[in-house]
């Protein structure tokens, strides 16, 4: 080991640990670019949980039964919880929740574009759980083995709950598909709207994803965008068939040679358009977050002021 320490630069030692699948912990040395990439990725993930509460929150007050209302509220509450673990994980890299939120509110930090699409019917609660959470799980399960310890551990908790979310989404779809014709139409209509945007959740094509190679090398990422997108299609097409629904892509076809489904080209113009802030709900999602934060300022200030007064009184009493 001594020769190792002498012969290898900090970068080389760091990469050797990564290659040996040894977790990086907050106090370990790490390249600045690794730290920055992680802060960007984890905070983006935390923001997605936070903003992701809004499209489903839109249906909590209209859920069609007490049971559904209760499950949906619990699910959205889980997302708030995921946001908390992830902000905490990012804080171990030397940033603060206030800073991350400021970056979200200014538009500097991104969140998942999928939440810039509106939820228009009850079947959207099915599609968000089934497809959106399904895509999120594919993205996130490999992150349980990501190289940065606090992130990996946060993701283990997140993934457990996400699989429950996905099941409840599928169950909503199944109930609709086994219900009246009007319910099945509702399910198909929602699938038509959500299918392509969920394929976009895996990010740009590998050939246009400049960060992928470095992130794979650091084992922050374990699969490429296109690999995950293919996995998703292979998983979801049979599920849609099981439900009796049609995926809105005429190019979807089983390819015996590849042992995978062929599928059509994502509308990348739409993808970049929404990423750049021009989706239907970009403006209102961000506004809702900014408004909650600004309108909550006096509450946070009151809590701090009261805690300070109490501390001062206790100091006098002692």
């Amino acid at each position: 080991m001594e020769t190792l320490a002498q012969d290898l630069s900090p970068e080389e030692q760091f990469q050797a640990r990564i290659d040996a699948d040894i977790r990086i912990e907050p106090k370990d040395w790490m390249p600045e670019a690794y730290r920055k990439t992680l802060i960007r990725q984890i905070s983006q993930h935390a923001h997605s949980e936070l903003v992701g509460m809004l499209p489903e929150g839109n249906w909590i007050t209209r859920a069609p039964s007490l049971k559904r209302k209760s499950i949906l509220l619990a699910k959205v509450q889980d997302e708030a919880g995921h946001g908390l673990y992830l902000y905490s994980a990012a804080e171990t890299l030397g940033t603060s929740r206030d800073q991350m939120l400021a970056d979200l509110h200014s538009g500097k930090a991104k969140y998942s574009s999928i939440f810039n699409y509106p939820t228009l019917s009850w079947a959207d609660m099915g599609c968000v759980g089934w497809l959106v959470d399904g895509a999120a799980i594919l993205n996130q399960v490999p992150l349980c083995r990501t190289s940065y310890g606090p992130y990996a551990r946060a993701m283990v908790r997140v993934c457990k709950e996400e699989s429950f979310h996905q099941r409840q989404g599928f169950e909503i779809m199944q109930t609709l598909c086994e219900g009246a014709p009007v319910q099945k139409e509702m399910a198909q209509e929602a699938l038509n709207r959500w299918w392509w945007p969920t394929l976009m959740m895996f990010g740009p094509k590998d050939s246009e994803s400049p960060n992928t190679a470095q992130s794979m090398n650091w084992r922050i990422k374990r699969f490429t965008n296109d690999e995950l997108r293919q996995k998703f299609v292979d998983m979801m097409v049979p599920q849609a068939e099981f439900l009796g629904l049609t995926v809105p892509d005429p190019a979807v076809k089983w390819n015996e040679a590849r042992q995978a489904y062929d599928f059509g080209e994502v509308n990348w113009e739409e993808f970049w358009n929404v990423v750049k802030g021009n989706g239907l709900c970009n403006h209102e999602r961000l506004q809702a977050r900014v408004q909650a934060h600004e309108e909550g300022a006096w509450v946070r200030e009151a809590a701090l002021a009261h805690a300070a007064k109490r501390k001062a009184r206790e100091a006098v009493a002692v």
Binding site: M53, G57, T61, R62, S70, Q77, L84, A302, A303, A305
Partner: protein, 265 residues
Amino acid sequence: MSATQPEQSTATAAQGASPLFPFVLQLADTSLILAHRLSEWCGHGPVLEQDLALANISLDLLGEARSYYQYAAELEGKGRTEDDLAYLRSAVEYRNPLLVEQPNGDFAHTIVRQFLFDNFHYQLLKGLKDGPDARLASIAEKSLKEAAYHLKWSSEWIIRLGDGTDESRKRLDKAIATLWRFAGELTTPTATESQLQELGLVPDYVALWPAIQAHTAHVLAEATVPEPPAPVAQLGGKTGRHSEHLGYLLAELQYLQRTYPGLTW
């Protein structure tokens, strides 16, 4: 306090149904409507931790409401389900007190509404837990643990807002001025409640009052807020005479069931 609310004979006082039915339904409506109001905060709370707390309380109350609705449906014995009772009754048939249907307003309004409810709810559940109806006692026992946490949470926030900043104090005072008048209805028995109190099935609200009063006095003192003079109590919700807010709430809550009658979701 001691006066009894007049009550016209209503469809809910169904013949042959258990005398407890309208009371259990009232408990169910109350918890559901407050849970619904709290759920409107989801994703919009002042800080992530409080977003979680609001959703937690909402979920507790929703669970409690479901237990009551299921029991009410059995007591009624007409084959209605929890969802029939929640989704297919109109505003005039709802029996929740006016307090819980009041809009969220700012965080101070939500806290004052919650505190007034929690303070009564906690004492009521303590009474019901030891009551003669086993089913009601068991729901109350389970809910009491949750209600104790709710009361702690809302009491702490009254104190923080009252003894926080000038701004929070101003907002708390305004919320008290708006909502205090709805507290009286909670402890003013309707004819149905009086009847059940005489039968010993429902705790006597007069007996609950000292503990409610003492806790209010304690929390307001900690919050450095002078006790507001007792306002004229607004009554009506428990007998189906609601404020205008309930209709909109139910229109939203019942939208899918009303638009597509008879389907399973």
